[in-house]
Symmetry: C2
């Protein structure tokens, strides 16, 4: 692509915006249709997540945050699987070649690729008459057979979660003029904090190694804590009991709950948290919490795995089970 007349606007777009990101030797400077993940003796963990304008992000979201979100939702999966990022491929469906959008999009994507040591390996850029879509497939490496799955949770395991839960759902609520927007009308800092959590996930890759060392099962929270824990339990053939009072909340989220501006269900079933949810044998729970502390990431015990096939129970401060009408975000 460098030593030739560009023979299409698509090539020109790729050369201009994305070639600078393709620093890994396996990307061949994007002159090939294919990339190589070189053999290292490790297993390759593969994850794929797409974001669509109007569904996963708003048309009014800035291009730089869209880029970060598209990559980070995949990095979050790798973190939960205990994998070290190895690279990603990008499919970009655009309505047109919009320089004002592509410039900051590619710059932010490149910054995140560098920050998380996850280089762009290749991709496909296509035109669409519809909403923009960004589909990323990301790769990570784990020692052979060591990917952390969803099926290993056992009765007695502690349930741990990183960071705070529900902020992103509240951030979307702020952006779309919901209850949180009204309740925070005079608190721009809280509004901004929540919006930032919606637009820019903070994947916990710094804890991947600790998750691999200690967790019996793990996944990232993307569709809502309640629904995602239900999936993990189903995959492991177990049930769970969660103390809702222990679910970690940000100051902004806690304030809204105290004022009755939003209900806890909104937080437990809201999507886009991109925190790690994992189960850990009791003897190792403190070690993972300590690893989090060392890395500057809160890791909080919120409940316990129990035997059975019932749906996980979410208990309030009085030990009463909450009746959740909704467990998670669903596309259909």
């Amino acid at each position: 692509m460098t030593n030739a007349p560009e023979n299409s606007a698509e090539d020109s777009l790729i050369a201009r915006y994305f070639k600078p990101l393709a620093t890994d030797p396996g990307a061949f400077g994007l002159v090939d249709d294919a990339a190589v993940l070189s053999s290292s003796g490790d297993d390759i963990v593969v994850t794929t997540d797409a974001v669509i304008e109007g569904v996963h992000y708003l048309a009014t979201d800035p291009p730089d945050t869209i880029a970060r979100k598209a990559l980070r939702v995949n990095l979050s999966d790798l973190a939960a699987k205990g994998a070290v990022p190895a690279g990603f491929v990008l499919t970009l469906a655009l309505r047109s070649k919009e320089d004002a959008w592509l410039g900051p999009f590619a710059d932010a994507l490149g910054e995140d690729a560098k920050t998380f040591a996850c280089p762009l390996l290749g991709g496909d850029t296509v035109s669409t008459p519809g909403p923009q879509m960004i589909s990323i497939t990301a790769f990570g490496r784990v020692p052979r057979g060591r990917m952390v799955g969803r099926t290993g949770a056992r009765p007695g395991d502690r349930i741990l979660v990183t960071g705070t839960i529900g902020d992103a759902a509240l951030g979307l609520d702020v952006l779309t003029g919901g209850a949180a927007a009204a309740a925070l009308a005079s608190d721009p800092a809280a509004r901004e904090a929540l919006v930032s959590r919606y637009r820019i996930p903070q994947p916990r890759n710094v804890l991947a190694r600790a998750v691999r060392d200690h967790a019996s099962a793990a996944m990232d929270v993307s569709d809502g804590l309640a629904g995602d824990l239900t999936k993990l339990c189903a995959a492991s053939g177990v049930s769970a009991s969660v103390d809702v009072a222990n679910v970690p909340l940000s100051a902004a989220a806690a304030g809204l709950i105290v004022r009755n501006a939003v209900c806890v269900e909104t937080l437990l079933a809201g999507g886009d948290d991109y925190e790690v949810l994992c189960t850990v044998p009791p003897a190792q729970s403190d070690a993972l919490i300590a690893a989090g502390r060392a890395a500057g990431v809160a890791v909080t015990a919120i409940g316990m795995i129990v035997a059975g096939s019932a749906r996980p129970r979410f208990l309030d401060g009085q030990g009463q089970e909450l009746a959740l009408k909704r467990l998670s975000y669903s596309h259909f």
Copy 2:
């Protein structure tokens, strides 16, 4: 997903239509967010290609052919890289959960996955308000360092291409009522043959090993022979001379040329061929042609790599250079 109440329609969709395809152990029966490509000592070749309704296929195309095309355009990349298919992940952006569409789509995808020994490893299913989109990232294995790139073409190498060129572009022309449709009004068999080439590519995976053994550079022809050869030459820092009379044409395409119903540029610059274009040192050219014969795939020498940085020249039967106004399909 099996031993649990389904907690979303998305899970139900995945369980119903795609879990039966996830036969590889690395797919974990689609209960996980991530898949594993187990370490084998081989390099992993990664390729990604998306198809969008109204751009890469027509809204009226049958769902089974859309599925096959979405997978095969990726298999074609693997074939050209000399890689053996190892699996794929799928991102499916749907307007709604349409059983009448999803059933035949998933069935055909599963058939092709089996035929080409390329199992579904995972994916993401999302809703979109816009056109449907299918993005596939496919994986193949090659011995360490043996992926066939685009940069190895050397002056003197023969230029070889599999199958026939231009049929898919003519098939699209038939479907959209272009010149080919008019010229073939009384020849339904020819129309059907061309349409089939547009809807269902025939990737040349059976020749992957021979391409790896003999080719100095290779790529698949997806955007048009002229433009794709130009890209390959640019990547290798060489030029080329092509005898257009030697470019292999189907009977239907040749007939349309003879009758002046379409011009040769339509064939050379039309997209969607999904044939292998490769360069081969002269001493190995016969071996690759013989491998094709043994596999039932025509392999035809169409020209030669020459020194220089000029665009490849396309010469007619009199040795005159054709002035191509267009080299390939461009999205922007």
